[in-house]
Amino acid sequence: MRVPGKPAVLLVLALSLPAVAGVHEVKLKLPLRPKLAVTGRERISLSPFIVATQLSEKKDAARYKDLDLDAEFRRYLGKQLGKRTKMTIIPMPAEVKLPTTVLKDLSENAEYWRSVGARTGADILLSGIVDFKIEDKSGYRAEEYVSRIDGRTYYRQVLVESTGFTFEVTVLAFDGKTGAKLFQETFRDAKEKPRRQADELLGLFENLFSLENQLLGLFVVREREANRYVFD
């Protein structure tokens, strides 16, 4: 039997070593703390949201006629909070109306929020302002094509008809006991769809799905992956 020589042994040893001996890149899952302290304040209620532009005032009001933006947003957010957090959703009485349509005034009206808190028994009250815009974004764009006659590549201008959906929400959180403002942040998402596939409700929910993690990040701990070096 042939006994392997020194070079062969060294080769085997070299192949069994990691690429960079002594250092490894490892993955960490870092906790991202929620932006709103909810521990011990798990009862939450969703008050009405101001709708930035009254839908009836929009030029093409017919496109929005079936869309109750405030109700759709609150229903969606309440459902996500109920499913993906430990918070208890306290129903908001239907007769609760906002005292103003000015965001600043709303955010400073501690007395109003204290009364809503007392009425609902919620620890945290959410409100704010929502806006949803649908815009036609048709225009000419340069497109490359290969001529069948001479096989060369040319550029031509083509009309592209698309529709843009933009959703924006400013979320305000209030302490249900004191009525004081705890938090304010604005979230925005924009999407573009070919004209034939444009539907206002589908557009709205695509915007909302995109914002889902950001919105829930207000209330729950999330994780972020990171890489670090460790030495052997």
């Binding site: 250092v23 490894h24 490892v26 993955k27 960490l28 899952k29 870092l30 906790p31 991202l32 703390r33 929620p34 932006k35 709103l36 302290a37 909810v38 302490d175 004191t178 004081a180 403002k181 705890l182 938090f183 304010q184 972020r224 990171a226 890489n227 670090r228 070096y229 460790v230 030495f231 052997d232």
Partner: protein, 108 residues
Amino acid sequence: MTACSSGTGTGWKAQKTYGARMARKGFWREALFRFERAAVEKPDDPEVLNNLAVAYESLGESAKALTTYKRALELAPSDPRIKRNYARFAESYTAQQRAGGAPATPTP
């Protein structure tokens, strides 16, 4: 050789190596335990301190991670791996501080 083949030895080098193996598998509590033991024996080893800082960071102990990374960098100011780790940590630590975590008291 300080580490026994089945896992842990008792020397600081063996603890560090075993801790690094646990870190690669994602067992950060075990890794931290090993790095802490290594650091007791070798409190001025920048590699041990770097590993310890990474373990603290992974377990959400940011304040301890900060001081440990700083100490590791003091001991090895030109090590590119420790510098990179510290830079990435500083980025996420600052973001957390800016977010304020969770306001316990109302904003003005």
